[in-house]
């Protein structure tokens, strides 16, 4: 055990002060379900660690149709909220009960693929993330938070403090496909949102997990859907483009080849679910 200091700040300002004073060598940890296994294995050898469990970042509230999710809200609480069923569905399909009792929504954004299942659902909902540093809070789209494999827009001295999920139009569907029925790493995770008017798609989001270096949107496929009449033809076309534009990888769970096939299949299934669900709801 190499840790000499483990801080548990009691407020955001205390946490930011610690981060400012200790600099980037201070390891930040929320639920610890990603960080602690690395520490236990000696892969990560921090000397100074800051735990966010008691920093007061666990607010979950609805305001003006928006859902605000504090960075340290657990996945269990996300599962139990009822404002956005698609987020409950994403939480239900992430890890196991005990892990969900510890893991945080904020931490999910930092989880490398094939993890990040919650982030996939959040992407389809046009979520913004609040990054807070000594100079204040900036709000950026979740899509802009990711800059590469395990890199992001968070700057030195900043913490992810919360997420804003706006009230958005349309129907949503979430499918996580893994090799077991539950508590399983993702082969592919798909979250879609489609808004329609008179049967014509006015707005579409297709978000994918385990399909690239981080959760991402299949924007070319979204453009295929926009303006189309949602139906078997448009769905098949969009799914094919999504499979083409994604950047799946091979790991112990699945090969790149298989993932690409499954991306096509499950994007189509998710869109199909919305189409079967009826028009203009």
């Amino acid at each position: 055990m190499t840790v000499t200091d483990y801080f548990l700040p009691r407020s955001l300002s205390e946490a930011l002060d610690l981060l400012g004073a200790r600099g980037p060598s201070l390891m930040v940890m929320a639920g610890g379900t990603v960080a602690m296994p690395l520490v236990n294995d000696g892969i990560s050898l921090p000397t100074q660690v800051m735990g966010l469990r008691h920093a007061g970042l666990d607010e979950l509230r609805e305001e003006d149709g928006e859902l605000y999710i504090g960075a340290t809200v657990t996945l269990t609480r996300l599962l139990r909220q009822q404002a956005l069923p698609v987020l409950s569905e994403a939480a239900r399909n992430t890890a196991s009960w005990s892990v969900r009792n510890m893991a945080t929504v904020g931490g999910n954004l930092f989880t490398p693929p094939p993890g990040g299942d919650i982030a996939v659902a959040l992407l389809a909902l046009d979520t913004s993330v609040a990054l807070t540093g000594p100079a204040g809070t900036r709000l950026i789209p979740l899509g802009a938070f990711y800059t590469g494999f395990m890199t992001n827009a968070l700057q030195d001295g900043e913490l992810l403090t919360g997420l804003r999920v706006p009230r958005v139009a349309g129907d949503t569907a979430f499918i996580k496909f893994g090799r077991k029925a539950s508590n399983t790493p993702s082969v592919v995770t798909v979250a879609v949102r489609v808004a329609r008017h008179d049967g014509t798609v006015t707005d579409a989001r297709i978000a994918l997990g385990a399909a690239g270096p981080h959760p991402l949107r299949a924007s070319a496929a979204e453009r295929v859907l926009a303006g189309s009449a949602l139906g078997p033809e448009a769905i098949e076309a969009a799914a094919a483009v999504a499979a083409e534009e994604s950047q799946p990888f091979s790991d112990g769970v699945a090969s790149e080849w298989y993932r690409r096939k499954m991306i096509r299949l499950f994007v189509a299934r998710a869109l199909d679910r919305i189409w079967q669900g009826g028009e203009d709801r």
Binding site: M1, V3, T4, D5, Y6, L8, G31, G32, T33, M36, P37, V39, N40, D41, V49, G51, R53, T76, A95, S96, W97, S98, V99, N101, M102, A181, S182, N183
Partner: protein, 165 residues
């Protein structure tokens, strides 16, 4: 490196431990307090053998710095086992052949305890979902699910309260 003092409630008793910073609850329980029912399988969050209840909710003690449970209520298998005999969940595991080597059993029983506290009559599907983070490498899951179902029948039938040490 300065040690720190942490106070929490363990199985109904107040305990105070002196630890190196960020020592896991698992290692405090096993190495320092002699509460060895809580097992050490993977230390990766992947097997569930280290499951304990924190304020009634199952958590993985291998991923939990003990400082994080300061002031909170921790219950391990020792805490639900009566001084004489067994807890109804343990009895049901025994009768349903819910274990072979027994390594996964403490974690399974703690999840079952939390499940039945939340939902006294869970479906088999709900039971399977609840134990999805607990690996058993020798018994197979059906007898374990049978055991939890049997325990649910008994506990909700008799409305029995459970004691502990």
């Amino acid at each position: 490196m300065a040690s720190v003092i942490v106070n929490f409630e363990l199985c109904g008793r107040d305990v105070e431990v002196l630890v190196q910073p960020m020592t896991t609850l698992q290692s405090v329980l096993r190495s320092q307090l002699g509460y060895t029912a809580t097992k050490e399988g993977c230390r990766q969050g992947g097997c569930g053998s280290c499951t304990v209840l924190v304020d009634g909710e199952p958590m993985l003690s291998c991923l939990l710095p003990v400082e994080d449970v300061a002031g909170r209520r921790v219950v391990t298998l020792e805490g639900i086992t009566p001084i004489d005999g067994l807890h109804p969940i343990q009895e049901a595991f025994l009768e349903s052949n819910g274990f072979q080597c027994g390594y996964c059993t403490p974690g399974m029983v703690m999840v079952a305890k939390a499940l039945l506290d939340h939902d006294p009559r869970p479906s088999r599907e709900a039971i399977a979902g609840a134990i999805s983070g607990n690996l058993c490498r020798c018994t197979g899951y059906q007898p374990i699910i049978d055991a939890i179902e049997k325990a649910a029948d008994r506990l909700s039938g008799s409305g029995e309260q459970t004691g502990g040490r």
